[in-house]
Symmetry: D2
Subunit: 343 residues, 4 copies
């Protein structure tokens, strides 16, 4: 059986990655590709790597274009998904890569995004406790933010097992595609190559409440998160360094590894590496994988978890396809690469 | 039907890329993975991006390990393929990513590689005139060098159509994976990032005679090639700028485009871009594609062709799998990506 | 004696580099720093690397601000210098980093820039034959384009000595700062990192007539130039590969080296490397140097010259300061670095 | 007055940077340049960016070569400085860029480096409380590690002022020159470009005890440090994210800024940026500066400090020259750049 899937926001990075993955999906045919300012252009002019779609003409992101598909992937700027989704029928599967429907707490929404809370959809990290069940057969799914994906998967098992105290420090280094394709001077190649910088320091980044939401659920108690995002000179990838104080000074590495093996041992996309191997983002490039490694620092009394993922794949569009599979009742791994493109 | 394929040189860049592609090949099962110095290690320790093979143990590159496969891909240092291939049965398909069997002229071999000429195998650029027929069902195939692939596909149509004089200038910018995985100080990240340099200038690069061979065949007359390779700060990709003097001062862009459309219009992997679009290597990352664009410079009296490809995919391991398909009687495109991973 | 120098266009890349160099100049005090859209901002907000000027406030680029300085460096978008310079007194030294006054041929100006030819100023590559004399004491100087600097210095000696035929092929790989600081989607870090592309292929780049002008003078006859610029993933630097057919099939490397040693042996900023060493752009980063190496390809019958420079230093702002020194009667090397920042 | 200074380890990155800075020092003449494996080569073959020294011949690192200089900068692999320094006269100023004499605690030395503790020299971060006085006129100085420089300067003021609890988390992203010039496969350009990875996670990195030593002194009590180093794709630069829990839940940003302004307001090389500006490593490239910014996260209850520096300049060789100035009784800033090379 083949499902017809439209992608809105097809000229951007998330939309391009969604199309790349859907092109490799054996049970998907790509329907409308839509955007705003590039309507009428060929897709080849904006996404030259998507050769099989090079001659496709970009249509407007409008309900009459998107209607009639089995599913629609929304890769729109934050705040635009809600209005589009509201016009699509309840049987159409809508996978939203934007932030509109991720947060449960209206106050957090108000503080970080402003305006009225557009409501909450099932949240698309199937590997978190209890999440997968809510995604199967869902017709509305909120794809998580790229940073929360890494941070949440990195520390949820330790919090769930009570191995660490709920005071989390996240420093995550991201490639610059995470900032999108809208031209800004600080994102020019000449600015970012050869340079690392921090931004949104001190709790201001919009992905912070999403981490708090996920990790508090995992911990079963309120968690604080200190989150510092770094911009590093590469196109893709996030390496998250996530740590928290040990709950017990005698915590052993073996106990920590056991908690992660229990949590992810059967997961197809999340992998605890063997001892002695450390994740690199290149190993996940273009793949829907998260690679993890854990350490216990006895001197500092902390558990440190390193998580590598591709912000556009498992961090956005890969997660979208994984959720699409769950929504459509397909095997969850259908069409999703687990092999990175390296070096 | 499934073919069992071994990869020798599995810990290097070409071998890793061959395994990446073979993992996505629907009619291949991966047999032995072999190497020299890393025997006994898991593949995961050397190729962490190949998750499904992470636990495979690397075996020695020896005839008793390689024998019994339907096909063997050799990704060995230049000069080592000949001896290994000689021990494999004549029915075993051997695809050699090394240089050993590319050159037809023993004098050129002697000049550029030294020692006795190990003989010539069918040459693996199916898109060159007459090449595809020699590759179908062959049991020994020489995969071309990465630079010759770009340069040859870039100018063969113009030479074959008599549009340019046989005096070719090639300047090709390559990512550093082309230099292999053996550690050298001049290939350290700190040396290559933020820097471009030339090497092998003035005719010394070993890929020069291969270009001469290919382009002379296409031209039907002896061709000279001035080849300058550049090392640029990226892991993968080659952008070739290939030019030659026009044969006729009135040559129009339309005539040139017509020659390329005729040559490549039906090819699944080689594409002339629409006017106004220029190839970038990122568009071919991880794909088996070559993207071309052509220009005619009336002032200088030259045809200029730009060719982008991934040196590890269409430039090496993708070509190997394409040739493997031809050797095994499979559809030529089986298992080969035409979608790049960008940005 | 100290000269007071203003910089117009202080928030851009060329202006920032001019300020960096002037900060290290022992006989310059920095006067007004001016710009358009960033008027009123501190310089620290736009050029955070210029610590000693961090608190300077950016003034408007207006004649009343620029007047009264001993010299003014114009680092403005092409086409804006002429009007500004016309308002400055004839005794004020004006160093124009823009293209407005480089070309001597009105037809070439019309073809490549359009509009009325704004006239020609002394051209600021002192190392070209006869150029230095015209720059000493001049009050209006046109700083050359970054690409023409490399290409002209690379081949002028061979053309002047009659060693090559006047049919020049230039392929030059540039860091992305050459494209300026105005935000464009194709210059985003995510687009340029990991990718090489060509642009302006086939004679369309505006620096082509400037190369033709310089090299024709050196050759004493009309020269054709086929110029292909490449965008490579680094912030700064140009590596030019410049070649031409040998005039005499017996031309030896020694003859070529002798011509370059004669041309540049006494130059403080242009260096022919010892045999066996090849230039890298990193070796010139932040320095006012051009590093050259030459080769003779007997098979292809060409002389190939590789030239490395920093597009913002010797390619723009360093040349501006070098010319400023000549204009002000100072030793030509005053305040100019010859040491690169590497790795 | 001019001092004659030798550099041992002149073919490596730290030695090269020391020579770059000493070339710009108005009161230094460069004496012997020495190394091990490259003895007899010209310096130009190993450090092509140091044009004025290109013809210098590398001598062996031996006491008879190094003796007779006013000062010697040792840029040797860890563990080799002690033996060399022991043979130099007590009046010769010895500036050691290696780790041999940094640690005061023999147990920490034994744990992280092994073997007998070679003793402690005055520690070369003049900006730390009480440090400058010990460096003036000293004849033996231990240059700090690159990571400890950033982390210590980042948090010392907050700890000294009692604003945070002594439980420090450091995540520092470094360019790959920090790993040195010895060729290793994991440092190849193809491995590091496009990738971020962590190493030495969990307390294993040798710079950890140096941070503990510095920050405990600043705090006046024992401090724990959780240190995670990241390798990022750039040649130079370190961006440190350093945080600790607030001592008082009501701590305001103003209080924190006041502590840093008090600590560094008069420092020529360490700068707290204005509110709203965040440090980038590019702003410090080639300069002896550290750029800082601070934030208070009320939700997470932490102070976060971002510090940018160039690991080879203020992180190694710039600190060496700064210490040399103090040792020789020169103004501390002599010859040291405060202007970075950007973009």
């Amino acid at each position: 059986m083949t499902f017809r899937v439209a992608v809105a926001g097809a000229s951007g990075y998330a939309g391009g990655e969604a199309l790349r993955l859907l092109l490799g999906h054996p049970q998907v045919s790509i329907g409308a590709v839509t955007a705003f300012s590039s309507v009428g252009d060929t897709l080849g002019a904006h996404q030259p790597h998507l050769r099989p779609l090079a001659d496709r003409v970009i249509e407007p992101t409008a309900v009459e274009v998107l209607a009639g598909h089995d599913a629609v992937v929304l890769a729109l700027p934050h705040g635009q998904s809600h209005a589009v989704a509201a016009q699509l029928g309840p049987d159409t599967v809508v996978i939203d890569c934007g932030a509109d429907h991720r947060l449960e707490d209206p106050a957090a929404w108000q503080q970080f995004y402003g305006g009225e809370h557009p409501g909450t959809w099932p949240y698309g990290i199937p590997e978190l406790p209890g999440a997968r069940e809510q995604l199967r057969g869902a017709t509305r799914i909120a794809v998580p933010g790229c940073y929360p994906t890494g941070a949440s998967l990195a520390l949820a098992p330790a919090l769930a097992a009570g191995l660490v105290r709920p005071e989390v420090v996240v420093v995550a280094a991201s490639g610059t595609s995470g900032a999108g394709k809208a031209p800004k001077a600080n994102l020019l190649g000449a600015e970012v190559m050869g340079s690392v910088s921090a931004y949104g320091v001190g709790g201001g980044h919009r992905h912070t409440p999403e981490m708090v939401q996920n990790l508090s659920k995992a911990a079963g108690q309120p968690v604080t998160v200190s989150f510092t995002p770094l911009l590093v000179p590469m196109p893709r990838g996030i390496l998250s360094t996530v740590s928290a104080p040990v709950a017990d000074a005698d915590l052993s590495l073996g106990e920590v590894r056991a908690a992660y093996e229990k949590a992810y041992g059967d997961e197809p996309f999340v992998h605890l590496l063997p001892e002695g191997q450390w994740p690199s983002t290149a190993s996940t490039l273009g793949a829907n994988t998260v690679l993890l490694q854990v350490a216990v620092d006895a001197h500092a009394g902390r558990v440190i978890v390193i998580a590598a993922l591709d912000n556009l794949t498992k961090g956005t569009a890969g997660a979208a396809v994984q959720c699409l599979n769950l929504a459509l009742g397909l095997p969850e791994t259908t069409g999703l690469p687990t092999v990175g493109v390296a070096p």
